[in-house]
Symmetry: C2
Subunit: 339 residues, 2 copies
């Protein structure tokens, strides 16, 4: 009898502050099965890990019998020690030192790899998404906050303290008048260009009585979301458009800074605000063109929207198991380090 | 007869815009011989390369006969393709596509390695200088401009386009009122915190008639240097002190940005302005403490002055031959990349 090597796949879990996504992904990055639910809130890590285990078990049950499920990868919001598979701290989840990898190893007797949610989304985009042609790239996830992942010469750069690539916390405005950031400081990029920042500005313009449809939105719904602002901007509301353009301008300055420091081939923008990429991109691209160092700008192939949407994190989590991001070195001197 | 392996050494050359330094350096980083002269100006690359060759030949002649000179390393101002050993462009030297490595290989029949001058100074500080205990660190060279070198997990990160770590060109101030930078853009860190920026501010305050001893300096010498400003600040001149503190505050913001993005263990500041480190450091350290992302700040061991002075570049150039910067991985997860 001739043995045929079985097709391999992996389970990818992406635990965000609001959504838990589980995918069964094959070796080519194709999604074979998908489960999604709201992240359980206001409960301890055990409840959340149990919900993740249920998703993974459901995906395992859905796998065809001739498929070899090679392991489980998980992305978790907050700083993660990827060596030990421990979530060090997650303000959104209320976690501290949660041993995620150990939990799933015990539950499934499979190889388990865990990393930060934004970093796994970066791996997903690098594997089969918007960055698949690049060895050195940065992803920004612009939503409630601004997260970021950095890939240098085909490898994630998490930083020795697990917190490299904090593009969201680049100091952009200095002084007591700068808006407060979620990190407790003032004037970070995240405080100027995230969905939260857009929402805060929208409330301020309504309180100041500026002429905008956002006042009606607030009167009707009791609140204004970042999506309300982008929708108002699309319909031609000048105030909403100004808010979006100011956020996009700051985002472009932050991207220019990261381009100057990392010298990437590409920057990928994902997350909720990226859903308004048609509105943001002209301003972002102009700001990058004006403010990136000329040789770095000349080297940059572009700033692109993410391609995998809500699947990016779980696809990247599966890639922790299936696909080392390493690619053959380009002929143009793409090697890290000493030559 | 028992053969004894001979002690090894290398020649390190550092070609700056104003000074050419040549060192004979042993395997421990000790300087065995030193030659220094002004960089020939206003002449073609052949004249400068010939001057470098003379220095190297002099150092070779000075080497004891039982010493094995294992090769020659050179650092050159401007973007360098380290793989090919070609200086791509050097505005200060007026060079474009100068084949430095090929020239010295032909001249000496020795292994030759070439890199950018700031990157080799970074290697020097990492080998036997202020960064010798760190695997992930950044150096800034603050002089006429602001150069920078980035070492991630024991390896230089030059960037695939040879221009990573352009900390001097972080966009700090936006708009037509921001000061012009040498790169042609406005509001870069270099335009706010370099020796050139300090000098420009000093001239402006004198032209505005502010009460400062710098007015007398200008009346006496016809000009004001950055050193004049630091000396005036040291004697208690309030205007000079304000200029230095504003530059230091911008420098601290730039360092905080780099700390947020690279997550280094240490930042090393060298160059001419670093000679006034006693004046700068309190302001720089406060700005970094206020503006770096808290986890990255907690991980940072400190911002330190460079230790090797004018020898850093040539020591680091010798280290291209003698000492790979690689060090045993720390136990704390200091590995680059996927885990």
């Amino acid at each position: 009898m001739i043995s045929r090597s079985r097709a391999r796949a992996a389970i990818g879990l992406d635990l965000g502050g609001s959504t838990l996504t589980g995918l069964l992904v094959d070796e080519t990055g194709r999604v074979l099965a998908r489960r999604r639910r709201a992240t359980p809130r206001g409960q301890g890590p055990e409840t959340v890990l149990e919900a993740m285990r249920e998703e993974a078990a459901g995906l395992l049950a859905a796998a065809p019998p001739d498929l070899c499920v090679a392991g489980l990868g998980a992305g978790v919001a907050g700083p993660v020690d990827a060596v030990r598979g421990v979530c060090l701290f997650s303000p959104n989840l209320g976690w501290r030192d949660v041993e995620v990898a150990a939990y799933f190893r015990q539950a499934f007797d499979l190889p388990v790899l865990v990393d930060n949610d934004v970093r796994v989304a970066t791996l997903g985009e690098g594997w089969v998404g918007a960055a698949k042609s690049y060895r050195t790239f940065i992803t920004l996830t612009v939503g409630t906050g601004i997260g970021s992942g950095v890939v240098l010469d085909g490898r994630l750069w998490p930083g020795p303290g697990h917190s490299a690539g904090e593009i969201g916390h680049i100091p952009m405005k200095i002084g007591p008048g700068a808006p407060l950031c979620g990190c407790g400081r003032r004037g970070c990029l995240e405080a100027l260009a995230s969905g939260t920042a857009i929402r805060r500005e929208a409330r301020l313009v309504v309180e100041r009585g500026e002429p905008t449809v956002l006042a009606e939105v607030r009167a009707t719904t009791g609140d204004i979301t970042a999506r309300d602002v982008t929708e108002a901007a699309r319909t031609g509301d000048a105030v909403a458009r100004r808010i979006i353009e100011e956020a996009a301008d700051h985002l472009g300055t932050g991207i220019a800074t990261a381009v100057n420091l990392f010298n990437p081939e590409a920057v990928i923008v994902g997350g909720g605000v990226a859903g308004a990429w048609d509105l943001l991109s002209p301003v972002v691209e102009r700001a990058v063109a004006e403010r990136a160092f000329p040789p770095n700008l000349a080297f940059l192939r572009g700033v692109f929207p993410a391609a995998l949407g809500e699947d990016a994190g779980a696809v990247g989590a599966a890639s922790l198991v299936l696909a080392p991001l390493e690619r053959p070195a380009a002929g143009d001197g793409g090697e890290v380090g000493r030559r």
